[in-house]
């Protein structure tokens, strides 16, 4: 089956400094994929590059296909149809994406006019339906309000309504709840899964929070230093991570119940993109590092159905983990 979106060997450099170093990821129709990894690992840049949203000084190469058709470097007119139409994006800071001096109605209607063939009253009716759909009470009247008249959680709901205006097949949600309080985050995530199910929309959920991704996605990709280092169905990744970085991330998360244990912190810090180590970028922090790791950057290779890992010692790492689990 042709994937909805497939990204192959996507590379991005800023002023000659590579920050994406060959990203491969594919999404099927209707699928929810999570993208996790430390800040600066390239989660946002991956999708900004795919949609042609990076500033001019970014050098981008590789392939991005939508329904098999290449969109990387496509003409502006074609990209304008993709962005906000087939693929919509929402961000962590929704307030900055809304115009403070226009009513919500104006902004929703503009988005609708751009991507949908609707006229006159139908536009306004659709705007109201969308606001209703994302759970803004009293939608008819609230359409006439300005962004500052809404709370942070409501503004994020409005952003979701704007994203849905183009009837997208894919929603890229980049840290959509990071700025929100826990109980509001839970509401927004619930809203995202409901609309996704109802509309059969695929979603990429970018988050630094493993729990958020685990609960809301079918599949998870873990990024480190500009590459995907492990990809697996959510439940398998959390039960049995193979890449030492993925293992480290999960071990670093304090448990919310059960006995307390000392956290397994990953030593050191993320490498500076301008001084990337040769070979595996995780080597300076990796407990399993061996000579082979310094030779060449390991490529993402399948280890089971629907699972792949970029680690030359994937087998050893897996055994080490099983050994720990058996203790």
């Amino acid at each position: 089956m042709t994937p909805l979106v497939s990204i192959e060997d996507l590379r991005v450099a800023f002023n000659g400094v590579p920050v994406l170093r060959g990203v491969d990821i594919a999404l099927q129709k209707g699928e929810a994929v999570g993208l996790v990894g430390e800040s600066g690992s390239g989660k946002s840049v991956t999708w900004l590059a795919a949609l042609g949203l990076l500033p001019r000084h970014a050098q981008v190469s590789g392939s991005v296909r939508l329904d098999g058709r290449p969109i990387l470097g496509a003409p502006a007119a074609e990209l304008d149809q993709v962005r906000g139409g087939r693929i919509a994006m929402i961000f962590q800071d929704p307030a900055s994406a809304l115009n403070p001096v226009l009513t919500i109605r104006r902004q929703l209607c503009e988005a609708l006019a751009l991507h949908r063939d609707l006229q006159g009253n139908a536009v306004k009716a659709e705007a109201r339906r969308l606001l209703d759909l994302v759970g803004i009470p009293d939608a008819g009247r609230r359409l006439e309000a300005y962004p500052h008249e809404f709370s942070g959680g409501q503004v994020q709901r409005i952003m979701i309504a704007m994203a849905l205006a183009g009837n997208p097949d894919l929603l890229i949600a980049d840290e959509p709840t990071t700025a929100l309080d826990a109980t509001i985050q839970a509401q927004i995530l619930e809203l995202l899964s409901t609309v996704r199910r109802e509309l059969g929309m695929a979603m990429v959920l970018i988050s630094h929070d493993l729990g958020v991704v685990a609960e809301n996605c079918d599949r998870v990709a873990v990024m480190y230093a500009g590459r995907i280092v492990e990809q697996a169905p959510s439940n398998q990744l959390f039960a049995d991570p193979v890449h030492p970085y993925a293992q480290g991330l999960i071990g670093a998360l304090p448990p919310l119940d059960g006995p307390r244990r000392r956290l397994t912190a990953i030593p050191g810090t993320v490498p500076d993109p301008a001084h990337m180590p040769g070979g595996c970028a995780f080597a300076p922090r990796c407990a399993l590092v061996a000579d082979a790791c310094g030779l060449a950057a390991p490529t993402l290779a399948p280890i089971a159905d629907d699972r792949s890992v970029a680690c030359v010692r994937a087998e050893v790492s897996r055994r080490a983990l099983l050994g720990i689990a058996a203790e």
Partner: protein
């Protein structure tokens, strides 16, 4: 249990906040009748959503700002009046760590100089002894003298937070208030700093007030946890037990909202509505407009924080403990 180092009795703090175009001043009850005690060598975790009054509580406990009413006692004595000698002596025994280490450091000075600063200010030890103490502090936070020679801009976020911690420890304080100290850090780095804090606390018998909105981090580090909602403590109890068996409907929603690998969101308690504006606090139980269990009485009467058995205290009309817990 050891005697309390910090005793907070019924502190309140109200700010006048101008809102809207016409600038009518509204009263924000940032902290309203909060009482806490922290035993020597223990950690009290303070959780709650933004605006619930956690930072204000922290600042009052440290004596950085006075409460409008109520009292803070430190090591059995009331806080001295700001600016006095007694106040300075007390203040040297307590330190604060904030979320943003870059904001807390001077970008123009090498970090070792900044760790040394409190020693210079308080005139502690000879110059040579101070240099040695700086090296010792760097070691304590698992950094090297080479790190000390750098400027804040040349360190990572986690390393900067270690520097802030080293500086806070310079005067050998007994008490630290940590306000969201790891919230800006990535999870792998967060784990390093959390482990370090736990180790240092054990080695130095520190007493901590640990403020965070992150339940996982708070549980990891705290003995006792207090949950705040709109300026009041709604539940308090020992950390593991509180998260395993939350009693207050708000704590239950908060724990249930915390995403966990291996758990799907089915069965989650979803609150309706937004957190209310602190300047327009609902009557009665401030949580009642969002509470799935609210009854008529909740809108009228403020529930008092009362013991429900064990070491747990809950402020809810429906949780009396008799049915669910044995009075210990």
């Amino acid at each position: 249990m050891s005697p309390p180092l910090v005793e907070v009795s019924a502190i309140s703090r109200t700010y006048a906040m101008r809102s809207g175009m016409f600038g009518r001043a509204a009263a924000v009850h940032a902290v309203d009748g909060v009482s806490l005690t922290i035993a020597k060598g223990q950690t009290l975790g303070l959780v709650g959503e933004s605006g619930s009054g956690k930072s204000t509580t922290g600042r009052i406990v440290l004596g950085l700002e006075p409460p409008d009413s109520g009292e803070v006692r430190f090591d059995g004595k009331p806080m001295a009046a700001p600016g006095t000698t007694a106040w300075r002596a007390q203040r040297a025994r307590m330190q604060m760590i904030f979320q943003d280490p870059l904001g807390a450091l001077d970008r123009r000075l090498p970090v070792a100089t900044q760790i040394r600063e409190p020693l210079d200010i308080h005139g502690l030890g000879t110059p040579a002894a101070r240099d040695e103490r700086v090296r010792e502090l760097l070691r304590a936070v698992e950094l090297t003298p080479a790190h000390g020679a750098r400027y804040p801009g040349a360190l990572s976020g986690g390393q900067r937070q270690r520097i802030v911690l080293a500086r806070a420890l310079a005067t050998k304080p007994d008490f630290l208030v940590c306000d969201e100290p790891v919230s800006a850090l990535d999870v792998s780095i967060q784990a390093q700093v959390v482990n370090l804090l736990c180790d240092l606390q054990a080695q130095l018998s520190l007493t901590l007030l640990f403020i965070s909105h992150d339940l996982r981090v708070v549980r990891q580090i705290s003995n006792v946890v207090a949950v705040m909602y709109l300026g009041r403590i709604v539940e308090i109890g020992s950390a593991d037990d509180l998260f395993a068996r939350p009693e207050h409907p708000y704590t239950q929603a908060l724990v249930s909202a915390s995403p966990a690998p291996g758990r799907r969101s089915a069965g989650r308690i979803l609150l309706s509505g937004d957190p209310p504006n602190p300047a327009a606090r609902p009557t009665g139980c401030a949580f009642h407009p969002r509470c799935p269990r609210a009854i008529a009485r909740c809108a009228r009467e403020v529930p008092a924080l009362s013991a429900v058995g064990g070491d747990r205290q809950v402020a809810c009309h429906l949780v009396t403990g008799a049915a669910t817990r044995d009075a210990a």
